[in-house]
């Protein structure tokens, strides 16, 4: 894995074949835990991808429903979001990274369509980038969406995002709450206070561990299969020209 904690030299010694760009929408009541979840998922996915991968830090602002009037909600217009995705992906491509994965927030465990939950502008931006740059393979992925069937088998058909998030956070908290940076520890502590306030609920870190592993495996599998399929399609087209 190459991250922002590495120097530029590493890009010469071990050029990245894939880049991962996580996107997170910012609402103060949920931002801390959503960012932690996406960061942990992306780190594990990056570790498990079989090629050198450049992991970017999460982009913290997204497009949320227009009628979201909660205090502290920060929103980008859809045109701005499209520009952000375009510019970042293009700059990675200009540096020779031709496979780019945009992690489009978490998505929904119950989603079954090709339309990403909450953020179809990211899908649009990725599509345009691929049209404009034929050598590029940019894809968007929502971790909960691609692992939905696995999660339903694990939790039951009535599973929701909130149930999955909570159990994964329980598991990660047990293993990470005391070990991370001061800022992350503050988020974990706040999360711990919120779960301890829920009387009678059992700590479900056992199922959370399994769910986390399922999500990572599903994302890695989806990413590699998708890039492989794209390469095959483009090869077919080339040989048919």
């Amino acid at each position: 894995m190459i991250s922002v904690y590495d120097s530029a030299e590493l890009f010469i010694d071990s050029p990245a074949e894939i880049a991962l760009l996580p996107l997170v929408g910012f609402t103060p009541s949920s931002y801390g835990t959503t960012e932690l979840l996406i960061t942990e998922i992306c780190k594990r996915v990056t570790d498990q991808l079989p090629v050198e991968t450049f992991l970017l830090p999460p982009w913290p602002y997204g497009t949320l429903p227009e009628n979201d009037e909660r205090a502290g909600v920060m929103v980008l217009h859809y045109e701005t979001m499209a520009l952000v995705v375009h510019d970042i992906v293009k700059s990675l491509f200009d540096h020779g990274i031709k496979k780019i994965v945009v992690i489009n927030c978490l998505g929904s465990v119950n989603s079954s369509s090709a339309l990403p939950d909450e953020n179809s502008i990211v899908k649009t931006a990725v599509r345009q980038l691929n049209y404009e740059n034929p050598e590029l393979s940019a894809i968007w992925v929502q971790p909960f969406r691609v692992s939905g069937e696995h999660l339903k088998r694990l939790y039951g058909i009535e599973v929701t995002n909130e149930i999955v998030e909570k159990s994964i956070l329980d598991y990660l908290f047990e293993h990470k709450g005391a070990t991370e940076s001061e800022d992350e520890r503050a988020v974990w502590k706040e999360y711990a206070n919120s779960i301890s306030a829920c009387n009678g609920q059992e700590n479900e870190d056992a199922i959370g561990e399994k769910a986390f592993a399922e999500i990572i495996e599903a994302v890695v599998d989806y990413v590699m299969k998708t890039f492989s399929s794209i390469a095959m399609i483009k090869d077919i087209k080339k040989s048919g020209d």
Partner: protein, 227 residues
């Protein structure tokens, strides 16, 4: 909860992901922006917004690890965030820019103050203090632009585990304005503009303290309120 706190001021850090020679991480500007904006927000009792991690770094050309957004995109991001703040009556915004190449911020903020006359949006001075309490902090000033004494010192203070020992000192023979005409890789093969060998953690610590004081005092004066 933000709705209960009702903050008067929001603080937004702006960083960058770009090469910083072989001794500093590519996330240097972002890591500094996060820390500086956090300290300033605490001093001002303000709402701390997540620092923008990627900005106008195209000036670093073909160096690996450099990612950017265009000037118009950065401008649009700031405009949208200001609109979000305005809609929830947070009318004072301090932008703490930690990447020297973000020249679009100045005209953007100028324009936003005209478009939102009930808001005060200010951009902190991104130059680091050369002295504190009468004592000089840094030895080089005019010749230190990128991954030199200043940034090396700050990172040695904040994240020493990510600072490598190998240092390069390089100061080109022409002025900074040349980055308007060519890219950094065409000027400095190692990506350094300054004397990184002069960086120390003590300088970084003193500079960070002095910068927080300077920015906080500036903001309080401009916003005309007390924390």
């Amino acid at each position: 909860m933000v709705s209960e706190m009702k903050p008067d001021i929001a603080v937004l850090g702006v960083g960058a992901i770009e090469q910083h020679g072989s001794h500093l991480p590519i996330g240097t500007d972002w890591l500094i922006a996060k820390e500086l904006s956090k300290r300033v927000a605490i001093a001002l009792n303000a709402l701390l917004l997540p620092a923008i991690p990627i900005s106008m770094s195209e000036c670093h050309g073909s160096f690996g690890g450099t990612v950017w957004i265009k000037p118009a995109t950065l401008s649009a991001v700031v405009k949208d965030l200001v609109l979000s703040l305005h809609e929830q009556d947070i009318l004072n915004l301090l932008v703490v820019n930690c990447h020297g190449g973000n020249f679009v911020l100045n005209p953007t903020i100028h324009q936003l103050n005209h478009e939102y006359p009930d808001m005060q949006i200010i951009l902190s001075d991104e130059t680091w203090p050369m002295s504190s309490n009468g004592k000089s902090i840094f030895e080089q000033s005019m010749t230190d632009l990128h991954a030199g004494e200043i940034e090396t010192s700050l990172m040695m203070f904040l994240y020493p585990e990510f600072v490598k020992k190998k240092r390069v000192d390089y100061v080109p023979s022409f002025g900074r304005e040349f980055l308007d005409y060519v890219t950094m890789d065409q000027i400095s093969a190692e990506g350094v503009w300054g004397c990184s060998s002069k960086g120390t953690a003590d300088k970084g610590s003193r500079a960070m303290t002095a910068q927080v004081e300077k920015i906080t005092a500036y903001a309080l004066n401009k916003f005309r309120m007390n924390p």
